[in-house]
Amino acid sequence: MSSFRQPSVLPGFGLTLGFATFFLSAIVLLPLAALVLKTASMSWADFVAVVLSPRALASYRLSFGASLVAALINTVFGFIVAWTLVRYEFPGRKVLDAMIDMPFALPTAVSGIALTAVFAQNGWIGQYLEPWGIKVAYTWLGVTVALTLIGLPFVVRSVQPSLLEVQRDLEDAAETLGATPLYIFRRIIFPTVLPALASGFTLAFARAIGEYGSVIFIAGNLPMKTEITPLLIVIKLEEFDYNGAAALGFVMLAMSFVMLLSINLVQAWGRRQIVAARR
């Protein structure tokens, strides 16, 4: 124990560790434990019937599928946005930088309604997509768009600091050593921001899975088609089926935990790959 102790400005290791544990328990672990307990009060057959019903399976597919697609889109475009903000000096840069955080602050219902208005068949963008046979609102596409919107700041804010860290000198050095711009990007810039990009992806993905407010307006909520798992939980609650809601919640919790854990493990493995001396 004493080997962990390091002089610090904060008082006592014991005190801070105790507080951290207590705080985490009260805010995070206790509610989760309640969820698990509630689920545990169900019989196995009931549990299976709820969580493996066709409607629930369809909702998992949509929730996790759309979240994955949205997080991937965000990873690509978030990187480009961060790159623009870090590397270029242009009028309105500060404003653009501030706007990135808007999805954080906006009530998600507001962004959902706004997106619906824009992408509806007679909306600003929707009316131009209509002739091409592309429907966004009330389809899985709409769900993805909504999830992309709320996930973008996570990627941008994760990548920005690490891009700042790629000093110009590194690129200059690579250039004097004969590397082409593409090579510099592949071998110098990308590996440096990769960990940040991965954690941005994870955050955006996690946020998208739990998202409720913005999706329900644009999704149309057709059972089996555009119904996300969180919505299904709310429906169960409205039917006073608390056990069913808890069971679905438990499944989401378990799946998210497994996915996030595996992403983190992959990241840690990647870091070790870099650290581990090759040859």
Partner: protein, 568 residues
């Protein structure tokens, strides 16, 4: 020559950061670029590497013009102050980077890597990550990485800047031995003169974007041409003293005294209890004001007093208030000192700087006029930058038509431009005073200096003055040659040749690089047009005859709004 720079100029937002730098570095030479921060030395190095584009001029590497060639294709090795190692790669991968880019075979890469690690004394460190190394080791790796592709030129940008003193010295030795072993042409940028002396076969000192002087370290130290180099390379006392003017006496005019700037190194001063006990030439008496023991040497500051001068009228008039002196242990033992003690100061060796601009004396008809001129911020800045004296001399009859005999002011005489200016100039020239600076009271610091001499008599003086001025003024300079319009072809060719002569004379005599332009037309009209074309210019003018101002030149001094004119 392996690296040749030809009038390289780089501007940032209209300000020249690198100003007309020409330089040739021989094959296998270790050249050190020395200068304070902001002097443009790093920008110049980046321009050689191709990391910064130049606005004007040419960069040649081994006879190949690379001015428009990208850094990738210049085959140079560059070492950065903050190492710039790729942190996600091991030491070995860092070193192999250039070889991987070039798709060298694995066996060759390994061989080269081992060889380089051996060279920098970090054998078997291949598998470490840069973050696991100390600063000194990281910089060694950076050097090895820069050498991997066998560049013809190695460029180092303050490579020791981030290291502490001991490691610095070790790394310095490594770099020197690696450079010797490979015989690679090297340019190192630093602001540390000790480092420059320790490493350089030759040094170049930069300030305000200009390469002031280049030469062997010992040469630059003992015989600098400029105040800046004198004071930047080690400590120096700059003295103003009067000396008999060199050269033959001109008919009808008495041989005059001239003010010069002399450099006295602290270690070249001798202290003794009395004038008679000095073994060297006497400079003056002074009191010990400060004493500092620094181990091997003792540093003293001597306040030069007037009583000494009164007691033994010295041959030279002294200007500085105090003189810095260093003494070795034997000297200290032979003549121990305490603060406040009166000592005689002698000089073992004094070096006179070849600059015609020694100090400034404002000459005006009234105290108020003199004060107004002395408040001109360009003049005060210039005097401060030259670390020289700025004094005033009031002469009520200065602007009168008739010549009034008066004392000759020391150094550069400064008079107000405007209506009375030609008379003031004539009076001063009549007393044999040169140079004269005509300064409009509200003159701004010039961004461009136009140089012209109206006759061959003034050529040398004008060149020397221009060179001296430009070392203290961050401005571009252009030599303007003017021939009468309708000159025959032959005259014109001769005019061009003369301008080229001037350029090479400036280059050879003063290490100064200037652009040249040839105009056809009336001399005064062309000059007026040139100076009136844009604000922020000044004129350095060589008069057609020594000591006289022709009628038609008056227009150049009386314009409003005017420009500064420096007359030789």
């Amino acid at each position: 020559m392996s690296i040749t720079l030809d009038q390289v100029t780089k501007q940032y937002q209209g300000n020249p950061v690198v100003n007309d730098v020409s330089l040739a570095v021989a094959e296998g030479e270790f050249f050190v670029l020395l200068g304070p921060s902001g002097s443009g030395k790093s920008t110049l190095l980046r321009a050689i590497a191709g990391l910064t584009e130049v606005d004007h001029g040419r960069v040649t590497l081994f006879g190949r013009d690379v001015t428009r060639v990208s850094a990738r294709e210049r085959e140079v090795g560059f070492v950065f102050q903050n190492y710039a190692l790729f942190r996600h790669m091991t030491v070995g991968e860092n070193i192999e980077f250039a070889l991987r880019v070039r798709r060298e075979k694995a066996a060759e890469r390994v061989r080269r890597r081992k060889e380089l690690l051996e060279l920098i004394g970090l054998a078997d460190m291949d598998d470490r990550l840069p973050t696991q190394l100390s600063g000194g080791q990281q910089q060694r790796v950076a050097v090895a990485r820069a050498l991997a592709h066998k560049p013809k030129v190695l460029l180092l940008d303050e490579p020791f800047g981030a290291l502490d003193a001991k490691i610095r010295e070790e790394l310095r030795r490594t770099i020197r031995s690696v450079q010797r072993e490979l015989g690679i042409t090297t340019i190192l940028v630093t602001h540390d003169q000790e480092e420059a002396f320790a490493l350089g076969d030759r040094l170049g000192v930069m300030n305000l974007g200009r390469l002031l002087e280049a030469g062997r370290p010992t040469e630059l130290y003992s015989r600098p041409a400029t105040r800046f180099v004198a004071t930047f390379l080690g400590a120096a006392n700059l003295l103003l003293r009067r000396e008999a003017r060199l050269g033959p006496e001109t008919a009808g005019r008495p041989r005059r005294e001239q003010e010069v700037v002399a450099m006295l190194r602290p270690e070249e001063a001798e202290l003794a209890p009395d004038r008679d006990t000095l073994t060297t030439s006497f400079l003056g008496y002074g009191h010990v004001e400060e004493m500092q023991f620094t181990g091997a040497l003792e540093r003293l500051r001597i306040r030069m007093g007037t009583e000494g001068a009164e007691r033994n009228a010295p041959a030279s008039t002294m200007s500085p208030v105090w003189i810095d002196v260093t003494r070795t242990q034997p000297e200290q033992r032979a003549f121990p000192l305490v603060p406040g003690r009166l000592v005689a100061v002698g000089t073992r060796r004094i070096h006179v700087l070849p600059t015609p601009l020694s100090s400034f004396t404002v000459c005006a008809e009234s105290r108020e006029a003199a004060d107004r001129l002395m408040a001109n911020h360009w003049l005060t800045d210039l005097a401060a930058r030259m670390q020289t004296r700025l004094s005033a001399q009031v002469e009520p009859d200065l602007a009168a038509d008739a010549a009034a005999p008066g004392p000759a002011p020391a150094g550069v005489a400064v008079v107000a431009a405007g209506p009375g200016c030609p008379n003031r100039v004539r009076q001063l020239l009549g007393r044999g005073v040169t140079p004269v600076l005509c300064l409009p009271e509200d003159a701004e610091p010039p961004a461009r200096v136009v140089v012209h001499f109206a006759g061959q008599v003034a050529r040398r003086a004008t060149l020397a003055m221009t060179a001296s001025l430009l070392r203290h003024v961050p401005a571009e300079a252009v030599f303007l040659g003017i021939l009468p319009s309708g000159s025959p072809e032959r005259t014109r060719t001769a005019g061009v040749r003369q301008l080229l002569d001037v350029r090479s004379e400036a280059q050879a005599g003063h290490g100064l690089d200037v652009r040249t332009e040839l105009r056809l037309g009336d001399r005064i009209e062309e000059l007026l047009r040139e100076l009136g074309s844009q604000p922020g210019q000044m004129l350095v003018l060589g008069l057609p005859e020594a000591g006289s101002l022709p009628e038609n030149f008056e227009a150049l001094l009386t314009q409003s709004p005017g420009w500064p004119v420096l007359l030789a």
